[in-house]
Symmetry: C2
Subunit: 750 residues, 2 copies
């Protein structure tokens, strides 16, 4: 029988994100921010009992539009249960991650009054996510209409050690009054993904005495089995019931002042896509059996241990700025949680598996914004993320063919196959830089780890195939150069430009590295090189073509350029009077202008030339940096969450600390601000990587492993910061960077 008490813990404000008071306005934001997960599965921080005012299975047609500016549905609450790789086809939005049945459901009812945070009388409410162990806590007093006052304490976690297990506990104590407490707990498949039903069939089982289960067959052809077992510190759950949406345990307990008890619900989740072999049912039950054998404490210990190891490799300690300290840890928490470190069939989706907004898709964010964090805290995970791109090379080849080219063209929005999923053509067709970004990131990984095997085994194929695409994607200009026309750069507010400098620079780098690595492979192993050429059907004429395009691809700036124009046609766009148009700067600029006008004007959604300067710092003088920063910053709207960190890093590099701190505030606010409620649709996981980069590259001033073989720092700490400590993996060794106001140290750790 379960222990009558549950573990309680203090709130440490450097480690815990706390919701001090319930408000329906911020509920969806906290649902996103409190998302729990372990790489294998993820679940938003919704209340166990839901909200009576909102249905979770409304069906509607979500249209393909600019997601950044979309007004989302369901302002109050949206469940989210995601397993990376479990996807289905939405008729308009293409392949999307499926929002799976909600297995956390626990309902309480006193004399006909259902527990509901929005509608019931609730006192002493508090909820917090402890980042150290990823446990979500909730406590409050419920004053029921029947006069029974109950104190409830919730605890739940998704085990970081036992990836298929979720554990929930609730401790309930009657403070005064009396009455019957009815309880239901189980699995609810009344869930739609962006308004669409991906469930082809659901089969439940309740006949076994020890569990209930729901097996879902998705339209993607997967089987997802959830098995829950519930127990209490006394005999409560006698019944099991099934209706059209749910399978539930049911129990009743008459309560009077002084009574208390605990309930526990353990759920195992398995799918036919898991790496583990075996029959679903057997595996699911086996995981539950472990809990029954070992008990809660052992299970929690293993979970805590796993998190502790993660934190040892990645925790950044900031002394002198508790707000940023907590935001930094929240970012690291979500990055760790989102990463499925042993599964290269998936990567990290744009919302960190914490919401439906970007359909669970993979963008360049992974490579450019998140990869540095993994490269320096968990190189194996970084390798895995790049390997995902190798695993989707066939999809990239299909994309190239679909556009009429040879070689490989990575999808602007990738799902698990690598085929283009972007439903809006202006991004999918024209934002071609992704294909070069991936090669950049791969080289970054190799330069940071020395893992040349990756090039030999996988990377060279990716490079050759993408080079084949580029030599066909360029156009020859009679003036004597190759060029890239019809390109959307990182700045998504200009959809079709000529020679976007970021893109051209990336492509030149990519081609140049391809040629360089081919040369290295040829020199180190003549036979291996012949095999490689044979495998890829590569001939020297083709390599000459790579060389020619690399040499003659237009780079529209040089060291003498004062302002580097984002594209050759940039000057021809209209100037805007931002002050007249952008009436409320707390809202996105895009809300105040039509797309039509935006697309013909000089208003950047995000860093573009400045992103290039960040990635190729050695190319530019400090004067170029400051001139371009001064030119672009006033016309950049930062409507994308990928922008503020870039500006912040560059400001720090220039020692403009006031500006850098302003951007730091922006970066922190993106998911943490209660006014912005930015986490409502999921975590801006690229910005989590952005915050890490801002602290590491910007303030600590670490030089990128892309360009430096040794650790070099050039710190610029924000005013209030006394010290920052950063664990860094560098070429297989563990270091600790310790930066204070006036000194820094690079300490090698054992």
């Amino acid at each position: 029988m379960l222990n009558k008490n549950i573990r309680t813990q203090e709130i440490d404000h450097q480690w815990c994100i706390a919701e001090e008071k319930f408000s329906i306005d911020t509920n969806k934001h906290f649902e996103g921010l409190f998302t729990q997960g372990n790489g294998y599965m993820h679940i938003r921080g919704s209340f166990e009992e839901g909200l009576e005012s909102t249905v979770q299975d409304e069906e509607y047609l979500r249209m393909p539009v600019n997601v950044t500016l979309e007004k989302p549905r369901h302002p109050k609450t949206k469940w989210g249960t995601f397993i990376p790789g479990i996807v289905g086809i939405h008729p308009l939005l293409k392949m999307e991650m499926i929002n799976l049945p909600y297995f956390l459901e626990l309902d309480f009812c006193v004399m006909g009054e259902k527990l509901d945070m929005e509608q019931c009388k609730i006192r002493e409410y508090k909820r917090w996510l402890d980042l150290r162990d990823g446990c979500l806590h909730r406590g409050f007093i419920w004053e029921t209409k029947a006069g029974l006052h109950l104190k409830l304490q919730y605890l739940r976690f998704i085990s970081m050690a036992d990836k298929h297990l979720s554990i929930q506990q609730v401790h309930i104590q009657a403070l005064s009054g009396e009455g019957n407490l009815a309880m239901d707990g189980g699995i609810n498949w009344g869930v739609r993904t962006n308004g669409y039903n991906h469930f082809k069939a659901v089969r439940t089982a309740v006949d076994d005495a020890t569990f209930i289960s729901a097996e879902t067959i998705t339209d993607g052809g997967n089987r997802v089995l959830m098995i829950s077992s519930m127990e209490a510190s006394e005999e409560i759950f006698a019944d099991k019931v099934t209706d059209s949406k749910k399978v539930m345990y049911h129990g009743n307990k008459p309560m009077k002042a002084g009574d208390y008890f605990t309930i526990q619900k353990v759920t195992s989740v398995v799918t036919d896509r898991d790496n583990e072999a075996g029959f679903l049912e057997e595996r699911g039950k086996n995981y539950l059996a472990v809990v029954q054998e070992q008990g809660y404490e052992k299970l929690y210990e293993r979970h805590l241990q796993a998190w502790t190891e993660k934190w040892r490799a990645s925790d950044i300690k900031i002394t002198g700025d508790d707000k940023v300290q907590l935001a930094m840890r929240a970012s690291i928490y979500h990055l760790i949680r989102s990463n499925c470190e042993n599964d290269s069939r998936v990567a990290i989706c744009a919302k960190g598996y914490a919401g439906e907004a970007y359909f669970g898709r993979y963008f360049w964010d992974t490579e450019i914004n998140m990869l540095p964090f993994f490269l320096h805290t968990n190189p194996e995970a970084a390798r895995n993320l790049i390997l995902f791109r190798y695993n989707t090379l066939e999809g990239a080849k299909k994309n190239a063919r679909a556009y009429g080219y040879e070689g490989a063209r990575y999808a602007w929005e990738s799902s698990i196959t690598g085929e283009e999923q972007c439903p809006c053509w202006q991004y999918g067709d024209h934002e071609v830089h992704i294909t070069a970004d991936i090669i950049y990131a791969m080289v970054h990984y190799v330069n940071g780890t020395g893992d040349m095997d990756f090039i030999r085994d996988y990377g060279i194929d990716m490079m050759v195939e993408t080079a084949r695409y580029w030599v066909q994607r360029v156009d020859w200009n009679k003036e004597g150069y190759y060029e890239l026309l019809g390109v959307m750069g990182p700045d998504e507010y200009l959809p079709m430009t000529r020679n976007n400098v970021y893109t051209n620079r990336m492509v030149k780098f990519s081609l140049s590295k391809t040629i360089e690595y081919l040369e290295i492979l040829r020199n180190e192993n003549e036979i291996g090189y012949l095999e490689l050429k044979h495998r890829l059907g590569l001939n020297s004429h083709e390599i000459e073509k790579f060389e020619e395009v690399k040499e003659k691809l237009k780079i529209s700036y040089d060291e003498s350029s004062e302002i580097i124009f984002q594209s050759d046609d940039f000057k021809s766009y209209a100037d805007l009077d931002f002050n007249t148009i952008w009436k409320d700067r707390t809202k996105p600029f895009g809300d105040f202008i039509s797309q039509e006008k935006n697309y013909r004007s000089k208003a950047l959604k995000q860093a573009d030339v400045l992103e290039m300067i960040l990635l190729y710092p050695q190319d530019f003088t400090s004067q170029q940096l400051s001139h371009n920063y001064d030119y672009y910053e006033p016309i950049t709207t930062h409507d994308s969450s990928l922008s503020a960190a870039v500006h912040g890093i560059l400001a720090a590099w220039m020692g403009r600390m006031e500006e850098a701190e302003k951007f730091l505030e922006k970066v922190v606010a993106i998911d943490m601000s209660l006014e912005k409620k930015g986490a409502a649709e999921g975590i801006h996981i690229a910005n989590c990587g952005g915050l890490w980069q801002m602290v590491v590259y910007g303030f600590a001033g670490l030089k990128s492993a892309m360009w430096e073989s040794e650790i070099k720092l050039e710190p610029h700490l924000p005013g209030t910061w006394e010290k920052v400590e950063i664990p860094i993996m560098w070429h297989g060794k563990q270091y600790r960077l310790i930066v204070t106001k006036d000194s820094y140290e690079v300490r090698e750790e054992s």
Copy 2:
């Protein structure tokens, strides 16, 4: 009792489009080409009995894409019953014309074998549309499996005189064998529009002895009532049956060699949107009563009389080219049929109400391609078409506001409200020339008729409101001019260009005419002008702004320009090797290139600079015409049906008759070619206007009434043409142009 015989008629190949042999491959094409109508209602030329192999109520999601290149669904047959103005909202495609219940259904069955053109044994098949009276005929012998051989002759028309009536007759004769013939005839609402169900409810009635009816309530809120009455030359239709999709008369007749009889079905169609007052049921029954009282002959006479009058005003007689003669008449037939001459709440949709493809929407085609025909054959109809734009001015104002501007911005794709319905943003947002095209057409109408009242009563409001839009839509360039950025010109293969010369020229014209007419109105009536200013809230500062923008709007060419570049950035697009890409020139170029590549290359979908030269001929020297023709023609794909006629007219103007005739052939082929099957999804009604323009402006060389107050001709007839005779209304007078190889005559008619 009905007469046992029906009228038969010879096929006159200058007047009749004939299908000599049934082929399932061309069936859908003939359905479109044989569309009948009378302005009020339209129905595709589908077989009365349908095809067993194709359902008409399949539901699916039609996506918003480039319609020109879309592969349509239902290759074999699609019913189409349309009443201009009866529209509903499609969840993806926005407001669309509703495909209404099919009221022509007549099914025959012999001993379990259903009559079906695809599956039965059919001999001596022939079908033809007689353009003189819009009657559709079909005749064939059906050799049933049971050995009964039947000869069937069909006749049907939609009355041009009694707009709410449709008449069908079938004469059936047993040639040999014997057996029972079962017959059903009625109304079928198993119809979907682009896969979507717009019918909220259908109510049937069969209890009255004399008719059956189906009343449909659409999701647009309209009521559409169809009442059919069937009779035969003997007592046959004893039963009436209703199922979930149909309400039908049913009858049986045992047949043996020598037996024959005739059946007639008359249907009246009324809606709550009709101009006529009265209760639907009463009106519908009254129309039927007229038939019963007066009999078929009287009804047909009135119908023929109405068509004869139409033809008197519009028929073009071509001696020496029967193929073009027939195509010309087919074009005129569809233009007349598509035009709802007394209802300025609707215009002429892009497919001439003969198919679902363009959703029944109104484009610039009406103004630029079709208006000249109406202006010179039925000025009242031309006036009505412009009045439609006045009636949708409120919608145009809403569009302007939606984009953040004042004034009025006409929809690229308009339905009955004038609000933008284009589901693809690149057209809807950027193809702004429509707003100026409408003003051009209005001035054309006024110049051709002298109807200055139209300006006073309606036009000045349209001009001032669109001018207000333009002065906000332009951007100021520091070089000292206004410009139009982010514009798609007529060439839809370049979605966002700078200073498209066609558009800028149109806007300058529009502003300049606005200022001119304001001045005229001020001079002719000071008080009226003050009232006008008050009504429109117009002040002199605003008029000065119109003047300033008109003066300073960039026109990127002058009389010295050899090549006029389509837009300021035109030269920066990539050159294409058409021969390599366009492997099969019988198919659209767009089928061989991705949109991505197309959008960055110099490949025109249709005439753009040349369209401008056509509309402003006096602006350009003959050298400019030939230089630009020679530059653009080779890079123009003519993927749009609006292109060939323009090129053909200009070629004729230059006396390049071989080229002109090549384009004439193209223009004729667009809807008439059995290889292209171009009419399958509806009539290319703009091209019908294009053919008229080609004959009148191109070959007869009539100078546009826009620029000339007197009739002037400069003919260039194709080689085989001996004579062409054209009726022309000019400033209220009727003329007849008679052009032969070496002479021409302008004859005023009484």
